[in-house]
Structure formats: C-alpha cells, structure tokens
Amino acid sequence: MNRQFRTLAALAAALLVSVTGTVAQESTVYATTIKSGLFIVGSQTPKAGVFFQHPSADTVWQHTGPTHTRGFSVDVNRATNGKIKYLAAGNGVHRIDETAGTWRTVTDWRITEVLDVTSAPSDANTVYLACAYGVWRSKDGGTTWAESGKPGMTPGYTSKIIIDNANENRLYCASHEGAYRSDDGAATWKKIDGLTMHGILTITQHPKDPKILAVGTEDNGIYLSNDAGATWKKLESGVDHSTFYAIAFDPQQPETMYASGYVTGVYKSVNGGGSWRRMNDGLTDLTIHAIAVDPRVSDRVYAGTFSAGVYRSDDGGSHWRYAGLPGAQVWDVKIVK
C-alpha cells in the first residue's frame, strides 16, 4: 500500500510539473544515460539521453532532448535558469532549448564521443566540451567550435571539464594524460604538475572554497588539493578501492563528501576526505558512475549505477532505494536548486 501511495503521489507530482513547469521548493534532478531499459512515462520505446525529475516524483522521470543517443552528461545553464541545456553525447553536443521546446545538434563530424560539456554560468553561449580527442570551446552557443588545448595540453581522451566556481575564465579538466588548468577561458592550458599519474577520470571543486579540488583516478584512488592543484594528497583512510568515477561535495555542508566508482558502492566522508566509510545498504549495483547531493536537502543523495538505473538515499547514504530508470547505464547525475 505504501508503495502504491508513493507511486500515486509521484504521478501526481509529475502531472503538476507538466502543468506548472515547476514544483516549489524542490530541486531538479538530471540523469544522463548511455542506454536505458524499457521504462519511461508515456512510452514503451527505450529512450536514452537526458531524463529529469523532482524528488517528489520518486521513480518517475521525464525525458528531454534527443530521444535516441548515448548520453554522457548534461549541462544545465545557470544564466537561463536551465532553459538552455547542453547534452554531451556519443554523436556530439546537442543544445536543448526548453523555451522553444526544441533541440539541435550543434557539433559536426569533427567532434565525436563527447563525454562532458559545461557552459559559463553568466553566458549560455560560452560552452566547453571534453571528448575522446581533447577539448573544444564555442563562444556562440555551439554555432562554431575551436579546438582548445594547445598550447599546454596533449590533446587526447578528456572525460571531465569544469568551470571554477569563483572565476569563469578558469577551467579544469581531467584527461587520460593528467589534469590541466586554464586561466584564460580555455585559450591555453597548463598541466597540474602535482598529479603525475595517467588516467584522471574526474575532477570536482569544493562548492565554497575554490582552492579545494578533488580528483578520481583509474587505479590510483582519490586525491585532494587544498591549494588549487599545487599540491595533492592521496585520501586513503578507509578507502579499499582504486578506480573512482565521481566525487561530490555536499553544497550545504562541504566537509561531507561522497565518492563512487568501479564496484565501490558509495564512500562517504564527513571530515573533508580525512576518512571514508562505505555506505551501500540497499544498492544492487556497486559500480556507480555518478553521484550528486541535493543542494536543498543535505541528506538527499542520488547515485547513477552502471546497470540498474538511479538509486537514492534520503538519510545521507545510510540507506538506498531504487529511484527509477530501470536497467539504465547512468553516466552523469546533476541536481539543480
């Protein structure tokens, strides 16, 4: 009965969203899937790409943008209150215009296997992408693109690109060759010397202190820097795994961090990475590529799994429950206030 009630409430919430466009006091959760199971509201067609929901929708998600693509990540542009989104996908970048209800592929044959995309918080037309062949930038909303990376970067497999919280001209990216920083809007790049290993998979910035950065690596664990990348410390206390795809800070309590990766389940630290504890109760798939904390509700955490869709915890990771997109391979989860 409880489950039926929850489903009814979720459907009611979804209906409310579709009528009003928003739900007061709720964040919006975005999940990007490489491939999906058969479930989606109103359709039996297996869609992939970008899905979104409000937490009250429980396991019910809606889809936006291209219906049939290997979606890696989504950027929800802040300057437009999310009306403009960019989807990084296997076949390029797609710009989604929610106001017009349209989307458009904004890259051509030169750009493919796009793993991440981000737009400037103040300008939806300034866009950066990371792909299997390096980094590109656009100043006109994707109409034209220029290859970035030179000088300073070895062009190659780049899986993550972020814009500094405090300085829109500063960017960081994670690549197979290492981590890089740009101080001039991706015109030039400099390798972050303190990280000497290959296979930097993700890079994350502290929500309040821009000097604090964390990276997840292939086979080398998690590293943290307190000085904008000048020096790094490996976070080892309580960590029994080595490959990490995602790291998230709690926006309200940034000393709380979550990390996840290959068969890791979810690791949580409440002391800024000083020590970690695994919190997997309820998870059915321990390979987790994406993790995000609700900026409105500190203990609400979403995890995107490799093969079992989205999971959610409402108690800071102590317990997890299935949150929809059955069978989906989730690459990215973002939660927008």
Partner: protein, 595 residues
C-alpha cells in the same frame, strides 16, 4: 503452365546459366553485361514472389517500374516507416528505396517518408561503417529535400547544413582511405556497408562530383576485394569478422556481393545486395577480370590503418601491413599483428576452395581486456567488457575464434608464414589455439612435429614450436582445436597446392626436410627457418624480420602492391593493371583514366 511456356522458361534459365558461367577471360563486354544482369535478376527474383518482401520489395518494384501500387503499399507499411529504428541501418534502405521510386510513388508515401526524417533521430554510431552509411544517406536525403529549416530535420540542422556536413565527411573519409588506408579494412562482414553506401551515392547524388566520388570509391573497394579474395571468400587477415564467418567463410555478407559483381561462389539471393543490384554502377571489367584470374599465383601487399586510438597509445592511426598469397586453390594472408582493432580482428588464415563450409585453417591467441577496448571506445575500461559482451558474446571466451593480441606477431613470405607469441604471464588467456576443420581429408601428426593437412588440392603444413594437445571441447564438434599452453610460442605454416608440390606425399617429404629452429624464452622469442621455396626467414618477436639476410622493412609497404594494383601511401590515387590494360583513379583530381 502451358508446355510452350515451360519450354521457354527452361530455355531462358539455360541461357542465363551459360552466361553466368562463361569464363571471365572469354567474355566480351556485351556478354559481361548480360551475365551481370542475369545474376542481378536471379538475386532479386525472390522479391516477385515473396509473401512479404518488405522495403526491398518496394525498392525493386520502383526500380523495375512495375507493380507500383504494390510498391507503395510495401513501402508505406514496412517496419522502417511504421516503426523507425536501427539508426544508419534504417537510413540507407529508406533513402535508397525512396530514391528508386520518388517519381513513381504516391504523395502519401512521399509524405510519410519525409516525415520519418523529421521525427526519427538516428544515431551516428561509432564505427567507420556507421559513418559511411550515416553520412552517405544523410547527404542524399539533404539533397532531395533542399532548403528545409532545421525544424524539418531530426537533428535540428537545415538541409544545407546537413548536406555540407555530410559532404565534408565523405570527402574526408575518401582522403583518409586513399592516403593511409581504411580502418575497417578487408572485412567480410562489413564490406556491404561500404558497398551500399557508395553505390547509393554513385547512383543518386545530384552533385556530379559526389556521384563521381561514389563511383570511384566503389572501384576502390571492389579492387581491394578483387586482389584479396578466393572464390568469394575474403582472404585473411581482417579488421573485423564475426565468428561464424571465421570458420564458415561463405557466411559473410561479402559473399553475396562477390557473387553479384565477380560472379564467384554460389548463386546468392536477396539480402543487402538488392539495393546495389538496382544501381546502374557496373564494375569495370578490368576489376572483374582481376577478381577472376587465378591462373598464376600472386602476392598482394597492402597498407591499412588501425582504428582511431583514443588512449593507451602513442599514435592515432598506426599502420597495418597485410600480405596475401593467392592461387586458384588457396589463399594465405596475414596482418603483421598486435592490437589493431578491438574485438573482431582476425590476424591470419588459410582459405581454400575445398571442403565447404569449413574451408579454412588458422590460429590465434584468444585475448581480451578492458584496456584493449578502452584504446578504441570512450566508456570506462573496467566496465567495457560487460558492455561489449552484451552483443559480442564470445569476446571474453577463452575458446573464441576471433580477436587480436598484443602478444602476437607474424612474418609472411609468399606462402610461408611464421607466427610468434611472447605472452605476458597472467594475461587473458595463457594459451594459443589452432583451428583445423574435421572435414580435412587428411590430418597427419608427423614425428618431426609437422601437422600435415590435405584439403583437396591444397596442402597445409603446421609446425608447432611448442607442444600442445588436441581439444575435445563440446563446441569443437566440427573442428579439431590444437591448444598449447606455453607462453613463448608460435608456429610455422606452409601451404602448397597440388600444382606447386606435385603430390601430398612430396609435400610431406619436403616438410620433413625443413625444420624450424627457435629460441623461446621470455623477451627473446625467435625463429630461423628455411622455407620450402628455400628462402631463409628469420623472425624475432616483435618486429625483427629478415629474408635471405636482408631486413624486411614494413614501414615502406604501399597501400597496394601487387601485379594488379599499385598505390603509394599518401597518394590519393590507385593504378589498376591487367594484361596491358590500365585504369587510374586520381582522387585529388577526381578523374578516372583508362588506357
């Protein structure tokens, strides 16, 4: 059926059969054309009577200008229009059928087809053949529906934007192929994807340059196959091949195209070759003659390229060097080895005309790794094996019959081949396998160490450098599997025909007199061997190759180098020669010159 009709039908069939089977060299141009048309008609004849011939039934009727209302009905109600799916595999039959019938079909059908290109968003895919199909189809569609805004296209781009992008990519692909080679080269299973894409471009492009480019690329890929096939079987190695076609060579998609254009192999019906068979493109007779002339053994050398390496490598497209030796009875071919394509690469094989369907002998190191996949695919290396095995189920099987290995290298000289392995301990897997079909006439294990095989008029010798055992696995009921667990390993292969060796007994005698000497310790694996042709081969793993004391420099290998074809790396050109005739393709000038 009336008696006179029956007589007429039989007479026609006999005429067709005689045309189909007229020897190539004896055919006039007129006979060549008639024989081709006869094969095309036979290939498509089932479409007249099939209960539900689907979209190809519509394309065929439009092309033949018959049963047009039936064609409309078939097109309008086919899966591709009713329930679009399949991405670029959806795109080419839809645009191909549309273009065959656009001046004949009803307005309703036209509107329904147009609507699918607005509402169904096909994915571009992640392989070279995907992109060839996607962009050739998109180019033709954008030409057909010009001046439409982005709102009328599945990707939001205007007709002009789609056409320009597709054209740019197709020109880029042509240039890459004719300067450093195809990445998905010599693929028995993926040949049709290129053949159809270029066929549609050659037939339907409005832009004469693009039409010409399509025709020239058809010449290019059919020539590539003509110098590397035996009776409709592509001779290995291959960039990509599905497991069934590895040990049953005639199962591949290439077989139908070889029958249609080369007239080789068994008659073929339907399949993807339908769209190509409706095209006015005619294989130049010089290529047909090359494909059919196996009167003298010849060596064919080729340079191709590795698929784009996106990590764990130092070069985006390292070269792949292939060598084949082809006679009328057999072909033996090899790639130089290493990780050159993920999943489905096949490094070497012997193919012969005897003993269908298992007309092959080959060996491999059945290797797999997430790192191998991550070299070529963008997803996470540790989860990629699970991803891949969802569709390529044998990828991580220790018993698989396809796949390359970083611990495998080859050295081939004519019909003698040395394959060496220096396998890292702990890798997947710690054994090598050899495939011997059970329908061999003879498979003798000689005390000298040679395994001596007789397959009709083809004789194969296999000298294992390390001991192994003959597997009795359940899945090996149609073949013998020779498995050796030594990590430093290898074998020497000799192939001769009855014409070359005189008899099987003489072949065996020769083998007994030619015993390789080897060094097999980690990091130091080598073989010195005097071939049956008395050439001295030395091969040190991974890349030391000498022939009669001279270093064999693979870096100088050309895109094509054979009695029939010449193309230099970077040339964007191909010269085809046969018995004093010459056809030159110049992709820079976009010209074809016949002499």
């Amino acid at each position: 059926m009336k008696q006179s009709s029956l007589f007429l039908t039989i007479a026609c069939m006999l005429l067709l059969a005689s045309l189909i089977h007229t020897p190539a060299s004896a055919q006039t141009s007129d006979e060549y054309e008639k024989a081709y048309l006869a094969r095309a008609q036979r290939l498509n004849s089932y479409l007249d009577t099939a209960a539900n011939p689907g979209i190809y039934g519509a394309a065929y009727r439009y092309a033949m200008k018959k049963d047009l209302r039936k064609a409309d009905s078939l097109f309008l109600n086919c899966d591709q229009i009713m329930n679009p799916k399949g991405d670029m595999f959806w795109m080419f039959p839809v645009i191909g059928t549309y273009l065959n019938g656009k001046d004949l079909m009803s307005a309703d059908v036209k509107a329904a087809v147009r609507n699918t290109w607005k509402t169904y968003a096909p994915y571009r895919g992640d392989t070279e053949n995907h992109w060839a199909m996607y962009y050739a189809s998109l180019y033709l569609a954008a030409e057909q529906w010009p001046d439409l805004p982005g709102s009328e296209w599945f990707n939001g781009k205007t007709s002009d934007e789609n056409r320009i992008e597709a054209k740019e990519y197709l020109i880029h692909w042509t240039k890459v192929t004719t300067t450093i080679g195809q990445g998905e080269f010599d693929s028995p299973d993926y040949f049709p994807e290129y053949a159809i894409s270029m066929s549609l471009l050659a037939q339907f492009a409005k832009d004469p340059d693009m039409r010409k480019r399509g025709e020239m690329m058809l010449d290019y890929i059919y020539l590539d196959a003509a110098v590397d096939h035996l009776a409709g079987m592509y001779v290995g190695g291959y960039s990509r091949i599905y497991q069934p076609a590895v040990f049953k060579p005639f199962l591949s998609g290439f077989t139908g195209f070889a029958w249609l254009y080369f007239g080789t192999g068994d008659p073929y019906t339907g399949g993807w070759a339908v769209l190509s068979s409706l095209s006015p493109y005619r294989l130049p007779k010089i290529i047909y003659d090359i494909a059919n002339d196996r009167s003298k053994p010849f060596v064919n050398k080729e340079r191709k390229r590795v698929r784009n390496v996106i990590r764990y490598g130092t070069e985006k497209n390292p070269p792949v060097n292939k060598i084949s030796y082809i006679t009328k009875d057999y072909g033996i071919g090899s790639l130089d080895g290493g990780l050159q394509q993920p999943i489905q690469i096949h490094t070497w094989s012997v193919r012969y005309t005897f003993g269908k369907p298992y007309s092959t002998i080959f060996g491999l190191h059945p290797y797999w790794s997430g790192k191998e996949l991550a070299m070529f695919f963008p997803e996470e290396q540790k989860t990629m094996i699970a991803d891949v095995t969802g569709s390529k189920t044998t990828y991580n099987s220790e018993d698989k019959w396809t796949g390359g290995s970083p611990f495998e290298r080859t050295f081939q000289h004519k019909n003698s081949l040395i394959v060496l392995y220096d396998i890292e301990p702990g890798t997947t897997t710690e054994h090598i396998d050899g495939f011997f079909p059970k329908n061999l006439e003879l498979r003798l294990i000689d005390p000298t160490g040679w395994i001596m095989c007789k397959a009709g008029d083809t004789y194969v010798g296999w000298y294992a450098l390390q001991p192994g055992e003959w597997s009795q696995k359940k899945e090996d009921e149609d073949n013998y599997r020779f498995r050796s667990h030594k990590l430093q390993n290898g074998y020497v292969i000799e192939v001769r025909s009855k014409d070359e060796a005189g008899s099987f007994e003489k072949f065996c005698e020769q083998l007994r007199a030619h015993i390789p000497s080897s060094t097999l310790v980690p990091g130091k694996v080598s073989v010195a061997y005097r071939t049956l042709g008395n050439d001295k081969m030395f091969f040190g793993f991974p890349g030391t190759r000498t022939l009669n004391g001279k270093t064999v420099d693979l870096t100088k290998q050309k895109l094509f180098d054979s009695p029939f074809a010449q193309a230099d790396v970077g040339s964007e050109a191909l010269t085809i020669t046969y018995k004093g005739q010459k056809r030159m393709l110049d992709f820079k000038k976009l010209t074809v010159t016949d002499k």
